[in-house]
Symmetry: C2
Subunit: 329 residues, 2 copies
């Protein structure tokens, strides 16, 4: 957040790297959409309005013109939908992976403070804006050999094609999961609504999984947190497909990443208003000394591992993002 | 350039990709400095004041902590020198090359228009802010096996180490060339000066070589240009070392790239003031129909090839940068 002129300016940067964040055989139109969407999500989570973006593309020599055209069409589609304009950038060759690096610039209208990770207090309620683990299920499906069948000239996912036998329910949930993963629709309006009505003490978008992102929020706010395990909203897709994928539904929901829902801390006297918006209670912030714990709902409490897609410790399909901190410099 | 609030905001993005823009064995402290410097140069060329930057790092798993520390120290050093603050960004793993993608945000104080590529008119004088081809000589030296010997714990280039025999003059010029290439010092103040005094009709920084960047300026301004070959200021390093490298000095100066000097168009009645600033006349803008030509000073005129470091058509040591145009979307 930078103060300057009448309004305040927001900026967020996020990169997608081939074979870390995506695979070349994923639909390029959707990749273009997603590359912009994940950046718009950051601005929206602060309660800002995205306005412009800068694009740096490092393009491998074996990328086909058709692929690049589709990628750019996807970027243009998402930009038009969100009303943001390309303001500059850079294209260069890459010796290996395709890399898409985007910076989104936005405005913070009005006088309210932006939503940040650091405003939460012990006692605040903890909410998420939708079911979790759906995108992670989509990624696991891709790794297991499922593929999207595209329609509308590569612009939408028509159905999910399994590597072997699959029931109709599995196919339906798999399509939902592939859509969540390959064509995420971040909560672009919710952050502005929360900020304008001063409903939240802190907020951030869930890009690396509830467990890891909650750790970031509590670290920034100087609190602990107690998550109520049975309250964590597990999506239908992870419920239906986790067993097939050899995963636990709650693991996909807590550690899966790329949900692009908002994680929101709310002062107790505003919780009723939050719930009327349809937001989902998942726990409560606690004093810092209690750390991050998860209750099993039947009296047991265990430590919540802050694991997620910290891709420095994962195989090259992990996806997380971490901002370089000013302390780095 | 975005209008918003009292001042106007500027943004520029530029990426450096390993084995395209740099090699892993180049000094990481200087690489960090350069990654920021080339972006600051873009803002400065518009006459703006850089304020903040966003950093996206894609980090290969084989990068050592010492390398990363030195890279970040170089970024911090250049940021402190220019008075810019890290405002955010992203770090992620890379399956191959190290990639450093930076967006610099700046302000355009006052009411003057920013310096752009598009304001030049036929008849305007064409100037550059310093000798050309020095950085390209440095790159060619690295390719030929010359190496920098570092001092001050990897922070400065002490001397140039040749792969074989070399004279003292060659070593001295080689050090100058390696410094220009590995630790460029863009013209951060000149753009603001030109803009504040309304001296230039158009300006841009020379990142891809005079020939290619002049083509961009004339395309944007709707003019042609006539470069006076003998007026092109060839640096001492290309003069001294081109033969050793199997290159022509004028080729390094016209097509070398990464000079980070400014290319400036000036209305005729202001040329005398420009010359008092020490800027160097290299030619004149012409009507569009005449295209880009270079005069040899003895009556001959030939077409100026708009070649430079268009790395999509070059081996992986080319370095150029091209912005994605809004027309792409």
């Amino acid at each position: 957040v930078a103060r300057g002129g009448r309004g305040r300016q927001l900026a967020a940067a996020d990169g997608l790297v081939e074979s870390i964040h995506f695979r070349r055989d994923e639909p390029p139109f959707l990749l273009g959409r997603k590359a912009l969407a994940v950046n718009l999500s950051d601005i929206a989570a602060m309660g800002g309005r995205p306005r412009r973006f800068l694009l740096t593309l490092a393009i491998p020599s074996d990328l086909t013109p058709a692929y690049l055209d589709a990628l750019v069409a996807g970027l243009a589609d998402a930009a038009a939908e969100a009303g943001v304009l390309l303001a500059g950038g850079d294209t260069c060759a890459s010796p290996g992976p395709l890399m898409i690096s985007i910076t989104v610039l936005g405005e913070l209208p009005g006088a309210e403070a932006p939503l940040t990770r650091s405003g939460a207090r012990a006692g605040d309620g903890l909410y998420v804006s939708g079911p979790l683990g759906v995108s992670a299920t989509g990624r696991a499906l891709l790794e297991a050999g499922w593929r999207p069948a595209m329609a509308r000239r590569g612009r939408t996912i028509d159905r999910a094609v399994p590597p072997g036998e699959a029931t109709l329910t599995q196919r339906t949930r798999a399509r939902e999961a592939l859509r969540a993963h390959l064509d995420p629709r971040p909560r672009l309006d919710l952050g502005r609504h929360l900020r304008a009505r001063r409903l939240a003490s802190a907020a951030m978008d869930l890009s690396d999984g509830l467990a890891m992102d909650l750790r970031r929020l509590t670290d920034a706010s100087g609190t602990g947190a107690r998550v109520i395990g049975p309250a964590v909203p597990i999506g239908d897709a992870p419920r239906a497909l986790a067993a097939l994928l050899g995963r636990e539904p709650i693991d996909l929901a807590l550690h899966g990443g790329e949900d692009y829902e908002l994680l929101i801390a709310v002062p107790p006297h505003r919780e009723a208003r939050l719930e009327r918006l349809g937001l989902l209670f998942v726990g409560r912030l606690t004093p810092r000394r209690t750390g991050l714990v998860i209750a099993d709902g039947v009296g047991g409490v265990s430590r919540l591992r802050p694991a997620g897609f910290d891709h420095f410790n994962r195989p090259p399909t992990g996806r997380g993002r971490g901002a370089p901190s000013p302390a780095m410099l």
